[in-house]
Amino acid sequence: MSEKQYAFHYDSASCSGCKACQIACKDKNDLPLGMFWRRVYEISGGGWRKEGEAWIPDVAAYNLSIACQHCQDPACVKGCPTGALEKRPDGIVTIDPERCMGCRYCEWTCPYGAPQFDEAAGIMTKCDFCLDLVAQGVRPACVTACPMRTLDFGELEELKARLGGTADVFPLPPEGQTRPALLINPHPDAARAEGLGADTNNREEV
């Protein structure tokens, strides 16, 4: 159990899907082509439904901005054979680049697709909550860049008390799986998205 737990709060109901967070993260961390530590998933589904003589649209569409959730019970840390993945006392999950052997096992154990392989370096990489910025008292790059102010950052309990939220949002895995440090204000469509057969529709981007 870490001494404190930093977390992200994300207001999916207000997110416009502009992907400024995704690009700010990529820019700040100088990520190579094709690698995104933060990804904006566009979830949509549904169709037309007949009501009496009328056909009405019955659709669900919303965005989910997802990075490493710095889980309280991180599957990546448990599974890492070299001990390169570590959960710090402030709850941030980091990868030691000197220890990682690039076996990519964390890529499979993480249900959020957070750890990503750097082909050139031969090791895994992932969001570190912008450790350097946080040390200076500045918020992570993705949070600062969001024009809609849908992303927030802070201590989990403080965020929960101030903004509430849940991580059980379709199609994310059940919260109990890894206890992510993520609080989402779900879009109203999220509750019926699964029933409408919704799915990620921008897979080529993420």
């Binding site: 052997m101 690039g102 499979w108 154990t109 199609p171």
Partner: protein
């Protein structure tokens, strides 16, 4: 199909073949059910153990191609407390060293060979189990079931029994205690396993029938070529079963027909394993 994980496909298939061969070759010998002509028994045992060492070394060699930083591989043994991957590698070492020990004990006429053969076979089985546990992770619903364990043991038993039967065919075999022909027994057992594996592989395929997971993982991309490649795998396995049956019907051509059958079964298992690794990756 995504071929990114070819080193792991070859590592697991060859590692499981070695473990299966250890169970079929070394265990009966260690328990005294050899049936080998006494003058050749030493050569038979030595060859079997050495062959298993060779297969295990080959498998381990393929695994290095999977790593981004292969020279850091020794550090993979650090997290034995928490990681099935560390446990798998420890068991691979135990398995390989026990097989090497068996060969050495046989070569030097040390009496410990039967115990080491039992240890090799047992370590091989636990090694296959640990391999399967690595992939039974909730984040990959298609892997997270007993089907993964069943598939890995199935590979071990199919290829292990066929390898054992072909190896035993090259050595003069006498009926055990005047009743059982060990070489003939290997052939029949391999045929039964092959015959059972064909429908089992079909029924237990991921995304088939009632085992299909409800929701795809977050980043999953469906693979339109999945069914085509699956049919290639099933055809290869069926061909292997028919050829093996033919090899039993015409014992004179056992080495040729059986050898081709083993190659077909090996190809089928490699194709199946590549599909397995492509499940969370998509195209």
């Amino acid at each position: 199909m995504n071929l990114r994980e070819w080193p792991l496909a070859l590592f697991t298939v060859f590692g499981q073949t070695a473990a299966g061969a250890a169970v079929f070759l070394l265990l009966p010998l260690a328990l005294g059910f050899s049936g080998v002509v006494s003058a050749d028994e030493k050569a038979f045992r030595l060859g079997a153990a050495a062959g298993i060492v060779l297969l295990t070394t080959l498998a381990a060699g393929f695994a290095f191609f999977h790593l981004g930083r292969p020279f850091r591989a020794p550090s993979a043994l650090r997290n034995i407390v928490g990681s099935w991957l560390s446990r798998e590698l420890i068991l691979l070492l135990v398995f390989g060293l026990a097989a090497a020990g068996s060969a050495l004990a046989e070569w030097m006429d040390l009496g410990a060979a039967p115990w080491l053969e039992i240890l090799t076979a047992a370590a091989g089985l636990v090694f296959v189990f640990a391999m399967a546990r690595i992939y039974t992770v909730p984040a990959v619903p298609d892997w997270n079931s007993g089907r993964t364990t069943a598939a890995f043991f199935s590979t071990a038993f199919i290829l292990g029994s066929m390898t054992a039967a072909l190896y035993a065919s090259g050595i003069p075999i006498l009926p055990i205690f005047g009743r059982v022909d060990l070489g003939g027994l290997y052939r029949i057992v391999a045929l039964i396993i092959l015959a059972a594996a064909v429908p089992a592989a079909y029924l237990a395929a991921p995304r088939f029938g009632r085992w299909a997971p409800k929701a795809a993982p977050l980043g999953f991309r469906p693979d339109p070529s999945w069914l085509t490649i699956f049919s290639v795998r099933m055809n290869l396995l069926s061909i292997a079963a028919f050829l093996w049956l033919g090899a039993l019907v015409w014992p004179g051509s056992f080495e040729i027909l059986g050898g081709v059958a083993l190659l077909a079964a090996l190809a089928s298992e490699i194709v199946g394993r590549l599909q397995f690794y492509a499940l969370p990756l998509g195209l």
